[in-house]
Symmetry: C2
Subunit: 337 residues, 2 copies
Amino acid sequence: MTNRNITIKDVAKQANVSVATVSRVINGLDRVSESTRKRVLKIIQELNFVPNNMAASMVNKKTNMISVVVPEIQNPFYTAVIEGTVEVAKREGFFTLVLSTNGDEGEEEEFLDSFLGKNVDGIILIGSHKEAEFYREIQKPTILVDRYFNDSGHDGVMIDNYRGAYEATKHFIEYGHERIAIIDGAHDFNDGKDRFWGYKQAMLEHGFTPDPAYHKQGNWTEEDGYKFAKELLQSHQPPTAIFAANNVLCKGTIRAIRDMNLKLGEDISLIGFDENELAQFVQPQVTVVRRPTREMGEQAAEMLIHKIKGGQLEPSKPKKVILDVELMKCGSVKKLN
Amino acid sequence: MTNRNITIKDVAKQANVSVATVSRVINGLDRVSESTRKRVLKIIQELNFVPNNMAASMVNKKTNMISVVVPEIQNPFYTAVIEGTVEVAKREGFFTLVLSTNGDEGEEEEFLDSFLGKNVDGIILIGSHKEAEFYREIQKPTILVDRYFNDSGHDGVMIDNYRGAYEATKHFIEYGHERIAIIDGAHDFNDGKDRFWGYKQAMLEHGFTPDPAYHKQGNWTEEDGYKFAKELLQSHQPPTAIFAANNVLCKGTIRAIRDMNLKLGEDISLIGFDENELAQFVQPQVTVVRRPTREMGEQAAEMLIHKIKGGQLEPSKPKKVILDVELMKCGSVKKLN
DNA sequence: TTGAAAGCGCTACCAA
DNA sequence: TTGGTAGCGCTTTCAA
């Protein structure tokens, strides 16, 4: 522990070969006679030598690690994405480094400039920055996940937020709902924006004008979900249906409905975006727009590693992969017609 | 992106100084005249130079990163620990690298041998290995969290699992319960073992002999919680109280109770270990043994960084810090007496 | 206050 | 098949 680390040199000396030969053995290159290979291997064993891969990385400029940067690590959506990327990366021989930025742009930047950020071979990024500019400056293979910026110059893996929200809203309408509220947060990123548009478009296309009083916009937090759901339900003309535009807003809404002693799917209909634990727990279960979270991570990792391995071939136009969503109909939407 | 990275040499040439001087400027050392410092700084700006900290690390043998290794990243207990360590580490100028091993010993080992594992300055480890031997071989500052091995040679941050379980069981007994069941998992680590002992000891001390039929031992999963709770509740002499020895077992138990249409805190009493979302959602809320998860991470990070900064002073005897737990009494325990 | 130069541990080219 | 050696980009003596 305290004693000097043993290096390739020590091995070379002991084995009576050059460091070059030891290096060849370590890296499993050919052009080494079986006998010397054996000898070197034995010495490596004896000395309990472990190559310093940092030194190697300095030379060949790759580390076989990628990072996945997410806004928060407490949200199951992000951990699912992480798990997907970790799995693929591992299969491809890459280590994945997980970083949570708390949605803080400063932390995100700091990370990218840090030891870790500088030394990974590629990045999977669910960004917190709101301008393409920031992403454009990232000088290494990067895949943007979930939140995308067209001028970023990077590939992206997203889901069809628009369609998810559209389908949810349409489902309400088809079941006879007219007073349909939406709870969402700031439209800082495409995901939130698209969900709202999907809602709006579905309303308009079916001849309804979205009532601003039914649009509650907060912070994408459970607290806001709770607060806004209560406000909506206590208003003098409450909506008959609520679309909660992400998983935590949905959880807050579920709590509010429970606390107000309303019957889900009876007194009030609800659709959430993304699955969540409470939605599955309550009875009836909550209808949600399900997105392939884990797959997003897998897809992103595959694209990233392909890029890393392929090197900078033609700087082709950024690819966007859009995965599909699915409306999981459970019992939380009442049929009014 | 494709063009060669600019290095300290380029800066030196442009600024008409030696690399040594540039290095001094970068590291904010004194012994540099104000005028040259200005000049160098200006060139650094112009060239948009960012030091390669990997090269620096090769020389001074530290990276200012630590890692926190956990069995799984989907469990809020672990993410809370992570958040605690990240916060402290950040404050102290360290980056934290998060690694989830899926409870797989192989993955844990692979990580420690990897680029990342070798190059962090210290490790916070919620281990998956079951023998002290493994931990003893880790040749760098390490803090064991939650799961501890006495002969590991490392410091540890734990909670008082024994007392938590003891208090929970005692609470049942004081409320007049006698048929008290426990659902837990394999006793691979001290945490699970101690919780069972706490339960057993409380029973014995109050004159009850723990009935093996009331001890359901599975895999620490939600499914097992569900399955065992059902088994217990459907047996011909069901317990009046269940102690679910971790958060996911508790969630499974809550589901089982709900699905069997039993009234929590009325038909069946329940205490969980560790908080969880369902425990807080259901009504009455579930009484739980609360442990200071985030604090565990903070404490561990503080100890680790202290160790890193202090270097290897005396190889003092490993310190164990045991944080206290608290029984949060909610409404899920019925008073029978 | 500044610079020259010797590493840190490894890889990869060129010679032998 | 092997070895010598010039880097990779930086830090840190030691001298100037």
